[in-house]
């Protein structure tokens, strides 16, 4: 029975707020997905820069295979090198092996940049951002000849 007063009933209010909430969640998810995609793009660019820097460091090392065989470099949220702790957000895993016995002066350097913590709305613990394999030369190999 209508009372004759204008306005919304409680049921109408609940339904409208519910519909708005569902739509708002969808829109917010769109914004978060956009932010995550933007972050992934930045991470790829930074990972490329960092791996290039590591490769160039190894090109200048006289004997790369003696320097390290397997290593990990940790980075904080801003891609600054840091020690491994709970704030570490990214890591670059490196692996250096001699190419073959016949090619003793050449080493294979594999680099893999990963994000240690999942992106928002994603589950993967170690997200691989970028990987690259290069050959580095042992500058000391021909030095004795």
């Amino acid at each position: 029975m209508r009372s004759g007063k204008k306005g919304f009933t409680l049921i109408e209010m609940i339904i409208s707020v519910g519909v708005l909430a569902v739509l708002a969640v969808g829109i917010i998810r769109l914004f978060i997905a956009s932010e995550v995609t933007h972050k992934k793009a930045i991470d790829i660019d930074r990972a490329v820069l960092e791996t290039n820097a590591i490769i160039e460091e190894f090109q200048e090392i006289i004997n790369p295979s003696e320097k390290a065989s397997r290593f990990t470099i940790y980075y904080d949220n801003n891609w600054e090198r840091s020690v491994k702790d709970s704030d570490s957000m990214y890591a670059v895993y490196g692996d250096i092996v001699m190419l073959s016995e016949d090619q003793g002066g050449l080493s294979h350097l594999d680099l893999r940049a990963v994000r240690l913590k999942p992106y928002p709305l994603e589950k993967s613990e170690e997200y691989e951002i970028y990987n690259i394999s290069v050959i580095v030369e042992d500058m000391s190999y021909w030095g004795e000849n």
Binding site: L23, L30, F31, I42, I135, G143
Partner: protein
Amino acid sequence: MKIKLRSQNGSSTILISLLLVTLVVFALLSITTSASELRLSQKNASNNKTYYMLDSEGKRFLYDVKSKINDALSISRDRPESFFDNLDILLGDNIIRSFNFDDGFMSITIERTIILEENSRRKYLEIRLLISQPASDSKINEICSIIEWRLWQEPFELNNTVDLWEGIP
């Protein structure tokens, strides 16, 4: 005359709908922009990989030449004047080279172009090495020097022809 502003039924619905449509439009624009950013970053990463792939192949070739120089040095230890003859035999037919004589000194220039095709576009690494006459105490890195190590790719040709209808049915 007094104008009475009065809320009509449905005006709030229109406002909310407009707000939602605006938010959806901005969210889609934002997603489109970030997706194109991601594509650009992936392309840059792929180009970087190609560069180092070519560079690695170049390093293999350089190593191959250096090991042949090492072999030639070992063979011609007793007869240093036969170094270039021995090296010429060891280099074989696959390596393009030219012999130079400057001021009585002999040298070999080796040229190699490494081509990598990616997404129907070719990328080239041009290498030129100079092998000079070894002295008694010369090291291989001194005998073999890199003159050119240049990476380039085919120029991009923009198709700017407009396909116009010429009026012929």
